[in-house]
């Protein structure tokens, strides 16, 4: 994408605050706050789910309780995790107007207006060309575009609820196979209470002709969002997928605990890109989303490829490690990440590359940018098992520090279990040099623009991996207020 454009966007955002903090006034169907077996059953019932799914949810719920009792909340992180009152959250919130799944024209105009305000037009005449969008509002999917066009190729792209009804076998076959309900406490919670999300299936040999995109919006107060995404690329297929997210500005912290599972069969390729811009809280750290998500893909067949690209700019705390299990021989995986923290934001992110198959390759490029009192950690695992003959990994993990009160940390775990592996890890820490700023100043560029230009240049290697079609989304990615953090 054109760096000049992102640069302008960054500049505009430097001047302003969080742009997506508005609240949509719409009549909602909200479950009372609290978490219990009844909550789980009520969600399942509202969605008319089959019994196997309810059973799966209840098992997950019991596991969640057990983890909470025996181990409590995770303690390995290098920051204080604020206490989360799971009983104070409402686990289901949906617009009262019934979602219509076949024609976008019948969607509540208020919702259409909301998404338009976010730059996601849903009406047929305004649809983004070449991008199919599934719009998720609080707990439910409200619209999915370009469904007919996609279905001609056999591609299934719909809300998770709908997938359960119409493609139950596929869901049952793959759900929880990459991120089991027992994976971690938030994955267990998600399995118990997730109410919607997106589902995509690309049949054998099909190259999905357009970008698939899910747009998540938290609107209701005191609610959490627990969506579940499942993408299956059958043999030899290709898909590029993007998710975006925003939330209103609220004083309380809201929990977002999503799960994404990617399954790439032999020679299939999945590119998954995220532009995460949840409300980050105010400058004193009040409010903001706790973004605790579990994302994992599996290169199940030989020659499969998965790549994660993420631009993390929002949330009070981000906690995510999109990983790939490289099971198939000759499979490959990539992880490209930019994480920006400012004010009191905390980003703890990285990836897990689990090499199991022969001749598997992975590449990790992580760029952290810390400003203000922001704390940015790269936490990653590269594991090469006994049978991962000739496994290769290259990791580059850079930190950019802006101002003397921020922090940048790296925690890379490397485990090699056979002699044929080659793993290289490099990390550097830099700051924006005064000489760089002066040089740009001397060419007529003011300091804020100079910083924007330098930050853009720093992040370029990751930005270049975002799909072209998401120029608009990508421009939001550097939505960071560096104001006041530049001396």
């Amino acid at each position: 994408m054109d760096t000049a454009d992102t640069n302008n966007t960054l500049h505009s955002v430097i001047e302003g605050n969080y742009q997506y903090g508005f609240v949509t006034d719409i009549e909602m169907d909200i479950l009372p706050r609290g978490l219990s077996v009844e909550t789980v059953m009520a969600i399942s019932e509202k969605k008319n789910e089959p019994e196997w799914l309810l059973k799966w949810r209840l098992t997950a719920y019991r596991h969640f309780l057990k983890l909470l009792e025996t181990q409590g909340m995770p303690e390995w992180q290098n920051f204080n995790l604020p206490a989360i009152d799971f009983q104070a959250i409402s686990y289901y919130a949906a617009p009262k107007s019934k979602p219509v799944l076949n024609s976008v024209d019948e969607v509540d105009p208020e919702l259409i207006a909301t998404f338009e305000k976010l730059g996601i037009p849903l009406t047929e005449q305004k649809m983004l060309s070449g991008v199919a969008v599934d719009a998720v509002f609080d707990s439910v999917s409200v619209a999915t575009t370009f469904r007919k066009e996609l279905s001609k190729l056999g591609i299934i792209f719909c809300s998770f609820s709908e997938a359960i009804k119409e493609h139950g076998d596929l869901v049952k076959k793959y759900l929880g196979t990459v991120v089991p309900a027992t994976d971690n406490i938030f994955a267990a919670l998600n399995a118990a209470v997730s109410s919607d999300g997106s589902f995509a299936y690309i049949p054998k040999g099909v190259r999905c002709p357009m970008e698939l995109s899910t747009y998540f919006r938290i609107n209701a107060g005191n609610s959490g969002q627990f969506e579940r995404t499942l993408v299956i690329a059958d043999e030899g297929s290709y898909v590029s997928y993007l998710e975006g997210c925003t939330a209103p500005q609220r004083d309380e912290n809201q929990l977002h605990a999503a799960v994404v599972e990617l399954i790439a069969l032999s020679d299939a390729e999945i590119k998954y890109s995220t532009v995460q811009n949840w409300y980050p809280g105010d400058k004193d750290g009040k409010g903001g989303i706790y973004n605790f998500v579990t994302k994992r893909g599996i290169c199940k067949g030989n020659g499969a490829r998965i790549s994660w690209t993420q631009v993390e700019t929002g949330s009070a705390i981000t906690w995510k490690y999109p990983g790939v299990i490289l099971k198939g021989d000759n499979s490959s995986a990539e992880f490209y990440s930019i994480a920006i923290t400012k004010n009191k934001q905390i980003a703890d992110t990285g990836t897990k590359m689990i090499h199991l198959g022969k001749n598997t390759k992975s590449r990790i490029i992580s760029k952290g940018i810390s400003a203000g009192e922001g704390q940015n950690s790269y936490r990653g695992l590269v594991h090469a098992g006994r049978n991962a003959i000739n496994a290769r990994n290259f990791t580059q993990c850079d930190s950019l520090l802006i101002g003397s009160t921020c922090g940048a940390h790296t925690f890379p775990y490397i485990e090699a279990k056979n002699k044929s592996v080659q793993i290289e890890h490099e990390a550097t820490t830099t700051r924006i040099g005064e000489d760089q700023i002066f040089y740009l100043n001397q060419r007529g560029i003011n300091t804020e623009k100079a910083v924007a230009l330098i930050v853009n240049g720093y992040a370029k290697e990751v930005l270049n991996n975002l799909p072209m079609e998401f120029a608009v989304e990508a421009q939001k990615l550097l939505a960071i207020s560096l104001e006041g953090s530049v001396g």
Binding site: S404, T410, I414, E415, K419, I423, H425, T428
Partner: protein
């Protein structure tokens, strides 16, 4: 607290209580021991899977101390190679107690060596000022040592003392039944000193299984230059944990070399350096060679507490057999520690398919004017280089030896002291040859 080893902790706490009751310990040592014992009772030994012990299960090595064997014959495969370091001041300890008879009779001017007991009896100001100031409250084995050391070695290097003759501290262990020893040291290098301190660990023949849990506090004074060499050549049935706490004052240089050429099945080193004064330079160089089912675990932590300090760290390892190596290198740059330069590198050469490397280079940075880089590599030796050497008529076995030497060369080459360099290089080569022989007979 690990419940599996609770009975061992109980037993050790009992021993500590006896030590507290014993006479001869002055007030402040007694107080420190009491506090450490209380802490040890509380935290015990590390739980399997806790972050600092993620890859190292110390349970079997602890439990083995409770197995009442009279004598353990070292397995034939366990290697040994001890070479004399010529011209050195020898300070010998036996199970942590200074053995004056085996030590050099005459010490160079400016060097003072005594037991903790003597330091207390002579009311040594330096000892009083620094004893226990660096001990960790959280590291399980440091706490255990602070609770259980029976006697300590106090080394004081007077300000301005400069000496080319290495100060060689030889830690000998010898006991007839399995158990722990807890050697403890306090080393103070006064301002503007320039010394070379070598520490080696030896197990006397016929000794039963011993868990050596050492702890050293080392104070590096202003403008001092201290080169500190840890050489672990313990053979056979020894588990070794070494806790080193170093504090460096302004304008000083501290260079730690850590060589592990040993046959003992379990080594864990906790090396912690706090740079407490501006314009100081810390260097950590490590070389580990492992074989069979050895576990070699190095945890290092370098703290940049103040501005304008520099640290360089390079650890290299060569792994054979089904051995495992753990490297955890932490660099902490505290708020305000501007103009920090920190460099860290860990390279691992895996020689056999069953060997395992776990490495975690860790940066925690709370200042912005810093230059920090770290790098890790894990891999096999260069096949092209092997082929090249073979094509020149060198047998494969010798080629591998040459390649291993080439890999480790720069660590040993960093030693500026001629006779110590020669000594280490000899140990290294002897050790490689022993390994080669062993691999051949496999």
């Amino acid at each position: 607290m690990n419940t599996d080893t609770a009975h061992i902790v109980d037993q050790l706490v009992g021993q500590a209580m006896e030590l507290i009751e014993e006479n001869g310990n002055s007030g402040f040592i007694r107080q420190a021991r009491k506090a450490a014992t209380q802490q040890f009772r509380h935290i015990g030994f590390p739980e399997a899977g806790s972050e600092d012990w993620k890859y190292t299960n110390v349970q079997p090595w602890l439990k083995r101390t409770a197995v009442k064997e009279v004598l353990v014959t070292p397995p034939v495969t366990r290697r040994t190679c001890s070479e004399q370091l010529d011209t050195a001041v020898r300070i010998v300890t036996k199970n942590g107690k200074l053995d004056k008879g085996s030590s050099s009779a005459v010490l160079p001017a400016g060097l003072h060596v005594s037991t903790f007991t003597d330091a207390v009896l002579s009311d040594n100001e330096q000892f009083k000022a620094h004893f226990g100031t660096l001990t960790s409250q959280v590291e399980h084995f440091s706490v255990a040592n602070a609770s259980l050391f029976e006697e300590g070695l106090f080394v004081y290097v007077e300000p301005y003392m400069e000496s080319d003759i290495p100060i060689h501290i030889i830690h000998k262990v010898t006991q007839s039944v399995p158990g722990f020893v807890h050697p403890r040291q306090l080393i103070i290098a006064g301002g503007k000193t320039n010394v070379n301190i070598v520490e080696t660990f030896e197990r006397e023949d016929g000794t039963a299984y011993t868990f050596i849990n050492s702890m050293s506090e080392l104070i590096v004074g202003k403008q001092a230059i201290v080169k500190h060499y840890l050489i672990n050549t313990c053979n056979a049935d020894v588990a070794s944990v070494y806790n080193l706490e170093v504090q460096t004052a302004e304008d000083s240089q501290y260079h730690n070399f850590n060589f592990m050429f040993s046959g003992n099945p379990f080594i864990r080193n906790n090396i912690h350096v706090v740079m407490d004064g501006g314009n100081t330079h810390t260097k950590l160089s490590g070389l580990y060679i492992s074989g069979e089912d050895q576990l070699v675990d190095n945890h290092t932590c370098v703290e940049h507490k103040v501005a304008d300090c520099r640290s360089d760290e390079k650890y290299k390892g060569i792994l054979h057999g089904s051995s495992a190596a753990v490297f955890n290198g932490k660099i902490i740059v505290h708020p305000g520690a501007q103009r920090t330069t920190a460099y860290q590198q860990n390279n691992n050469l895996i020689m056999d398919d069953m060997a395992t490397v776990y490495t975690k280079p860790e940066l925690q940075i709370f200042a912005d004017d810093v230059q920090c880089t770290h790098g890790v590599t894990v891999g096999e030796f260069d096949q092209h280089a092997l082929f090249y050497l073979q094509s020149r008529g060198i047998p494969e076995e010798n080629c591998l030896e040459i390649l291993m030497q080439a890999f480790a060369f720069d660590i040993i080459d960093h030693i500026s002291h001629k006779s110590i360099k020669k000594h280490v290089a000899q140990l290294f080569i002897t050790f490689l040859k022993l390994l080669g022989k062993h691999n051949k007979t496999k």
